[in-house]
């Protein structure tokens, strides 16, 4: 006979739960969870065309006097591949997302106008393509760091040299290969290519011509952010990484590696005092968790895939977009090489311009824009080019519909004219890229669209690293297509990755002719920006007229914010990371 009290379900349900809670209460640790405030409303900024201002000297912005009632602004985002707190220790993603919060570049990109504006450099001029002079801002103090609040003085020319040397030495720095080419591999070589005129004047004398040093100094796609040489000399790498001394509007004060980073506002910052006293970046790889954190009020800002934006908006959150596009989405046709290279394969149908045109004509870009990108973004006319970037030719936009417009019947005719009436085979390489969650949907759409016109595709799942490895053995990319994204930056950077051979270019080399490579080499060594622009335009004409890629769209970076905490976030957009200029986030209260 069983005692009746044993049969009471409430006993078996609540007793164990009570025990669990008691145990949990006994265990525990310092919390990083600090639920934030309560909801409201915001207005996204309009896009403003950028103009290059090589030697402008506007006054610095008035420091913001407003302080939010929300002490800590919490932001959930994906972790960069390499998580760094010193700029040269990893690639541009980590550098721009994290390091730029506490360190500054010589030249900034204005968060509203997207112009290059003075920052730690008050003036700069290109004396020649191999000599640039930077006048540096005086009396900009470095953060006091460490338990004894070490004082690292103010920003000086020696700090610029120090960062160049470190980047040239850096294994994973995005600027590393370029700095090594431009300045040298060793500290001695680098210092020989620099001239420190005085504490606030430095001349950079790259051994190769470089008309884009101002872009490099804006660190939009690199690691050229300023760190205190005094700290480096005194504390070395370990001390510099433990408490990095920068001049940014926020100072890094704490960190749980791989989990979160915490910054504190620099009061009365020379450029922009943030409205939020603290800024916390929480590294959350799972998108559903980021969504939950936003909905639950634990963070005021996060990044979400575009197909989750409608749900967030329906719950009262706002989507803010970058002023510049951040990402260009396009398809790469693997294995397309000119006939004077060892990689040329005459049997590869992708070599035939009619096939490439057919592929472009098979794509309904309006449908992609509407259904996959949810109406966000603008058309990408020619891969690597934008009207706000050097080398643009308005002819491409005028002729785009005529040459690239959706026309599956014409696509079929072209394939027949090319001699492939039976169809051609292709392999889609499905790869995932940060900031491009639409890759899968695009590949799936293309698979169907191409099949309709006689291109028989199969999809393979690849890792990006595997593709890059095989790219070096260039034969292995023949017959492959993959859709990817790259950044909003000067075509010189993008072309170097995709369309130029070593030694001036990178390892990949899609679509070259001898003329194209010559144009590229000349652009690389161009003595003026105008000449470089002309050569870039010539390369762009070739790409546009020969359908070298399948351009899809320019996409902005987008942040989903809690309007009760954030009234505005206006930022210019950045390579890889997309998020920066956090000091300009405006509080709602």
């Amino acid at each position: 006979m069983v005692h009746t009290w044993l049969r009471r379900p409430t006993l078996w349900v609540f007793a164990p739960l009570l025990i669990i809670l008691l145990v949990a209460a006994a265990c525990g640790d310092d919390a990083t969870v600090a639920p934030t405030a309560v909801p409201a409303t915001a207005v996204p900024a309009a896009a403003v065309p950028a103009t290059a201002v090589p030697t402008a000297v506007p006054a610095p912005a008035e420091p913001a006097m407003k302080t939010s009632s929300t002490k800590r602004l919490r932001f959930a985002t994906q972790a960069p591949w390499i998580e760094v707190v010193l700029p040269w220790r990893g690639g541009s993603w980590g550098s721009n997302l994290v390091v730029r919060t506490h360190m500054e570049p010589l030249i900034d990109v204005h968060n509203e106008t997207t112009e290059l504006v003075p920052n730690l450099a008050t003036e700069w001029k290109m004396i020649s393509a191999q000599e640039w002079e930077f006048k540096l801002r005086e009396d900009v103090p470095y953060h006091k760091t460490g338990p004894d609040s070490s004082d690292w003085g103010t920003f000086k020319a020696a700090d610029v040299a120090h960062v160049i040397v470190r980047n040239a030495e850096g294994k994973l720095s995005t600027d590393g290969p370029a700095f090594r080419k431009k300045f040298g591999e060793t500290e001695a070589d680098v210092m020989a290519a620099l001239e420190i005129v005085d504490d606030h004047t430095i001349k950079l004398k790259p051994v190769l011509p470089d008309v884009d040093m101002d872009l490099t100094a804006s660190s939009q796609y690199g690691n050229f952010l300023m760190h205190a040489k005094a700290q480096w000399d005194a504390e070395g790498l370990e001390g510099s990484e433990a408490n990095p001394a920068g001049t940014g509007s926020y100072q890094l004060v704490d960190r749980d590696v791989g989990v979160w980073l915490l910054w504190e506002r620099v009061e009365d910052h020379w450029r922009q005092t943030p409205e939020f006293e603290e800024f916390e970046m929480i590294l959350v790889s799972e998108q559903a968790t980021r969504m939950a954190m936003l909905l639950g009020g634990e963070v005021a800002m996060t990044e979400l895939a575009r197909d989750l934006h409608p749900e967030a908006i329906s719950k009262g959150f706002k989507v803010h977009s970058t002023i510049n596009p951040m990402t260009q989405a396009f398809g790469i046709l693997g294995g397309t090489y000119p006939d004077d290279t060892e990689w040329y394969d005459a049997n590869d149908p992708f070599q035939n311009v009619k096939i490439r045109e057919a592929m472009n004509r098979a794509v309904d870009r309006d449908l992609i824009q509407r259904e996959i990108f949810k109406g966000v973004g603008e058309p990408l006319i020619t891969q690597a080019y934008h009207e706000r970037l050097p080398g643009w030719n308005p002819r491409w936009a005028d002729e785009f519909d005529e040459k690239y417009g959706y026309d599956p019947e014409r696509a079929k005719e072209l394939i027949k004219e090319a001699g492939y009436e039976g169809g051609i085979d292709a392999t889609f390489l499905l790869m995932q890229f940060p900031g491009f969650p639409e890759a899968t949907a695009i590949n799936e759409y293309m698979f169907t669209a191409f099949k309709e016109v006689g291109i028989n595709a199969k999809i393979e799942d690849w890792e990006y690293a595997r593709w890059r490895e095989q790219l070096r053995d260039t034969k292995k990319t023949h017959g492959t297509i993959h859709f990817r994204r790259t950044s909003f930056t000067t075509p010189m950077v993008v072309l170097r990755w995709y369309n130029a051979r070593p030694p001036t270019g990178g390892g990949s080399s899609f679509w070259l002719t001898t003329e194209h490579q010559t144009n590229w080499d000349d652009a690389f060594a161009a003595p003026t920006k105008e000449k470089q622009g002309d050569l870039l335009r010539a390369i762009g004409d070739f790409k546009f007229d020969n359908y070298t890629e399948i351009p899809l769209a320019w996409l902005p970076g987008q942040a989903v914010v809690d309007p009760a905490v954030i009234s505005d976030y206006t930022w210019p957009g950045n390579v890889d990371a997309g998020f920066d200029h956090f000091e300009y986030i405006k509080a709602a209260d």
Binding site: L6, A24, G28, I82, P177, V257, G258, G506
Partner: protein, 306 residues
């Protein structure tokens, strides 16, 4: 008994070495980290430079030998994703969080499953028993990460009773512990139920009842103790599984443990860290099995002489 322990130890060591070799090779079959981490414009010379710096230019057997040699001295290499941090530092920082979660999940599993299993056994073929079986079925069918997301949605987003993620005060433990432990509830419950059913039908239990021993004592003192041997085997395996299988739950709840560390290193191909974690997980699993086997042999002498 000593001979049995020594033999099992040697077997475990051999297993661990074999596992380390497989993991090391598998990691390198899919490619190398230089291509993932180097800037796109890096030339072949740049790549070669990084290969040399990281020892990736050596033959695989040399890399393995160097890794194992260093590992025996406690040096598991440096992380490539978190420059300046050693693998040992990172794992040492994160391991307590994973063990904490695993132990709590196990405890949760036991304290919920034992009474439920007993109740289900003593109330065989009643609605209580059927309810228990349904819970067991759901628990073993539902993936832990899905359970985690659902719990997060209900209790953190909709009801706002608990935080969504992170490790902090006691409230931060509730959801990940339940999500992680729920599968164990189901599994333990079934084991306890079937073991109890076997024991409840034995002659000595009938004798105890005839002699007037209280039902409470019959179940908890006589039946449960004898029924515990089979679940005990599972207990050891489960602890290893919980620690090693923490990746999904830690990722969903942004729990700063070794599982999340492993997930974070995958995209960056931070081999040094990833392979060490996987080998460590394997070692924990093998170790738990070893402890259970020895314990089992201690409890049941017939085993050690088999």
């Amino acid at each position: 008994m000593q001979r049995y322990i020594v033999v099992r130890l040697l077997q475990s060591l051999v297993s661990l070495v074999a596992v380390s070799m497989i993991i090391f090779l598998l990691g390198r079959v899919v490619g190398n980290p230089a291509d993932a981490l180097l800037p796109p414009a890096a030339t072949d010379e740049e790549k070669a430079r990084v290969y040399r710096a990281w020892g990736l230019d050596q033959p695989l057997y040399m890399q393995y030998a160097r890794y194992m040699g260093n590992a025996l001295r406690g040096d598991f290499g440096e992380s490539w994703k978190w420059q300046g941090y050693t693998t040992a530092d990172l794992i040492k920082d994160r391991l307590p969080a994973t063990i904490e979660l695993a132990v709590l999940a196990l405890f949760f599993g036991l304290v919920v499953a034992i009474p439920m299993g007993i109740l289900s056994a003593v109330s065989k073929d009643t609605p209580l028993d059927y309810g228990g079986k349904v819970i067991a079925l759901i628990g073993q069918s539902v993936p832990a990460f899905w359970m985690g997301l659902i719990l997060m949605w209900i209790f953190a987003v909709e009801l706002e009773w608990l935080p969504t993620s992170g490790r902090g005060g006691p409230e931060t433990y509730v959801l990940p512990v339940i999500a992680m432990g729920w599968f164990q509830v189901a599994a333990f419950m079934r084991l306890i139920r079937s073991a109890m059913l076997d024991v409840l039908d034995t002659e000595y239990v009938k004798l105890a009842r005839i002699k007037g021993v209280s039902e409470w004592k019959v179940i908890w003192k006589h039946c449960l103790r004898n029924a515990a041997i089979a679940p005990l085997t599972y207990f050891g395996i489960i602890l290893g599984t919980l620690i090693a299988g923490s990746v999904a739950i830690e990722t969903v709840f942004t729990w700063p443990g070794v599982g999340k560390l492993a997930m974070d290193t995958v995209a960056a191909r931070d081999y040094q860290v990833l392979q060490t974690i996987v080998i460590m997980f394997s070692g924990i699993y093998i170790g738990c099995n070893l402890v259970v086997d020895v314990l089992y042999a201690y409890l049941d002498p017939r085993i050690r002489y088999a």
